[in-house]
Symmetry: D2
Subunit: 290 residues, 4 copies
């Protein structure tokens, strides 16, 4: 029964308040919508409430998304609930930024091509020409936008234009080796994901595997996080980790880390495009996914 | 706000049906109960719906648990919802069965004593006298019930009497080296947890670490599962795993496995006593815990 | 100093016997070879001794590999030591067998292209034409050898010819969905690696993720093993594992498992081509790698 | 054969130099000692060589440890090899420092009592009286040495006296909540292990779980390291890690972390007392253990 009908996701957040959950659930019920998977969380520190409902229509007539939206809008306003309703089948539009490393890009493109990630990739943007052939193979437009200290503002303006024109829902920094400007970070607030190759907040900044080598750590990892104005300080979505030992040179750590980076980044993207991630101040709420 | 009030857990299951979720949530709302954490799951294979709600009272008057129960009972009947309402602060009563190995018992007693596991232990039952002093240290009654093939029925009868008299919510087989009779398994359906020292269904039966050694596996693990009439086939709650290599003798596998066994068993008990586990045919639904 | 000189690997095994280690080490020393990394293991069950030495020449003259070989040969014979000496820089020749799934193939090709795996791939063989374009992209010869019950012997003969003509050191079954004949398994003894999508010996045979789903396990995994005549019983090289829960359908398990499969297979290949794996009856000895 | 004879461990380090390995191995061979497990490592950065050999006597006469020692001493001097020879069966003497938390202590005492850790515990020292009963249960002398800023020097003097009088091989800070003086750290150089409840170098200092909570990390861990004068900067022996999510309060992180702390500390102690750990500047070399 589930598989033959359109799957919707209703997500949102509000101040901690009696009645929010009831208005969500009763609105769905009145519209013959069956919520087969639901998660909520209330952060006692910030007094914010988060919810995610996966549902489909199980009435005898025809489902009116417009009616549901309208009812939700009416009732949610009083409670100041911010909510979004989405057809899960519609792929998110993801613009990918890269430089020269291709391991994360290759991985994302493969997941995209097999449907493991339900996304469209309207553009790949790079400050280098190197990875154009990977984009070509998948018939994805590749924009080579070189950047220097002088041209940074201009380059970001071009980037922003592409992001807007493609209607990107999400921007992914798949080992993009440039720091975005504060302005760009603000514009992309909550919809840009970066992969950092350390267990943040350990080893911020450049060459984290070399830092890890110098410290002689026995675990290395990767952190997928939302981009924020504070470099390497954005809200963490997920982290991966691998055991290492004294025989790992920096080069071996780099090689080892690639697996963790790509799996961790792909996981974060999947969680985001399935609407399982919520910003909660400098942290995230992430409901269980696959 | 949360921390000053009594915390309740409402759990249950029903056939897949429109309206079940609404009746739960609206009943809570009408009684000024704030559901700050909620998880639901619908199994498309078995058409069963499962829910767990953590809530507390946030009205201005006084909370009447009786009123809520009565309203839930009225409305749930029509939907054939099986539900339970519980004050989370009340510790579950757990009877522990052991033989001679004490690593799981020691671990559980320590967690019990520090409050990491919110349980009471009204009785420890063993077919050997060896672990009495551990029980004594924590002032827990220890029942030594020796067992032979001839006296098994009688021994289980004594065991059952203790379980009933202590009002046990849960029976834990913490490396209890006896197979319970079919009758006993039925009586304890859904409220007896066993720890098996393999990644079931691999290496069922006796000496799983020796089996693992003979196969040369590179991972060993432990499985906490509900006890069922089919030995080592009960619904799995959680599993733990550890990497091993060619240098592990059976004895080293046994030693290594102890850590996984005790952590895995403790985790399963915590999930159970916090009402996060549901039987679903020969499988389980386990909502996220800590 | 290490990085500027040729790196050799000396591996071997013998019966448990005093003097074997001494002859290895003293032969290296006499030839001014510095053994900077060494591992040995003695299996008390089978009375076999295994060793792996990584070394390079640090004398003042010129290194004669021939002299070392000749001395080793002379002395090793008396002790019935089976040994191999190899220049680590020379890539192993790996023939890859595939069917239609491309996630393992893509992963191996990427690692090959970046040098993460120090291998050559002289041929990709498949019973389907589907993955030819991946081979083309990397300029690797692709042999489409369809197979039916009737043509199996013939197809394997063609396969064997390719394996021989390319001088393959290793054959990798990267989700090759055909069972090799007993004869082929024998020919490839110790130099064919398969990836099975379960934690063997759990869930042998077909559709292991569906079996895992039916059992409701909370961990799934993958096993890389040497191919043997007994299907899914070959010596295990390495295993990977991932936590799952009740929300995983068989399809989601399949998707989740792909990451574990490809990482586990790649790890096994790396261990093999770096001469870290030894057959030891129906088990393996695997010295630490990266 | 192995199990009936005394097992020795020969460990050591030297400058990178041709001939060191040969002198070790040939000395063993001349004395009819069979090295059944051996690991070596050479750090190309520091030009230091490390080795660990496990062996037993397999000659026809009687083994003279004195002869072996004398030969090793003669030959090792020329190569400036620092070495130690030890009968593996002789338990290491471990003095444990604690404050009020007992989870690590309980765990160590249990492993000690079952023989999982081959150690003796001649003394438990604490700045609080709370854990005396745990010591009593295992018949271990408990020294309550209260400490204030004023009495610190005096208290450490008492502590040092106990460490010396008991002939302690190792001092373990099992959640000892005091910072040792620089002088004490120097005295205990290379033979004091601390457990820090974070993935160092992340979250140094006090209340690491609260720091982790504030950062919203998705993994927490523990680090066992040698004590050094720089607080939380000592050479890392091993690290453990656990996934967490947004539902973890600081209290839940603390509770969760206990399992990782005790397993990680116990693992480090086992590695140390089996002579598998070597100091290498501000890092460690740790050969594989169980």
């Amino acid at each position: 029964m589930t598989t033959n009908t359109t799957t919707y996701i209703l997500t949102g957040s509000s101040q901690t308040k009696l009645g929010v959950l009831d208005l969500i659930i009763s609105s769905l019920y009145r519209n013959d919508c069956y919520a087969y998977e639901m998660h909520t969380f209330d952060d006692a520190d910030t007094d914010r409430f988060f919810f995610r409902v996966e549902f489909n229509y199980r009435g005898n007539g025809e489902f009116s998304e417009a009616d549901l939206r309208s009812q939700l809008a009416d009732r949610a306003e009083a409670f100041e609930v911010k909510w979004e309703l989405r057809d899960l089948a519609i792929p998110a539009k993801v613009v990918i930024l890269v430089s020269k490393y291709d391991h994360c890009l290759q991985d994302l493109l493969h997941r995209y091509s097999t449907g493991a990630l339900n996304i469209e990739i309207p553009a790949i943007i790079s400050n280098h020409p190197d990875l154009k052939k990977q984009a070509d193979w998948y018939n994805i437009p590749y924009y080579h936008l070189p950047v220097t200290a002088e041209t940074k503002a201009e380059q970001e303006a071009q980037m922003w234009q592409i992001i807007q024109e493609t209607g990107a829902d999400l921007v992914v920094l798949a080992r993009y080796m440039q720091v975005l400007s504060e302005d760009m970070c603000k514009k992309l607030h909550g919809r840009a994901i970066n992969i950092h190759h350390s267990l943040l907040p350990g080893f911020k900044g450049a060459k984290p595997y070399h830092q890890a080598y110098d410290k002689g750590v026995k675990l290395v990892g990767a952190t997928a996080h939302y981009v924020s104005e504070d470099l390497d300080e954005g809200p963490i979505i997920t982290q991966g980790v691998e055991p290492v030992d004294h025989t790992y040179t920096p080069e071996r750590l780099v090689a080892k880390g690639r697996d963790t980076e790509r799996v961790t980044l792909a996981k974060a993207i999947k969680l985001h495009v399935e609407d399982r991630c919520f910003l909660n101040g400098n942290k995230t709420v992430v409901f269980p996914g696959h």
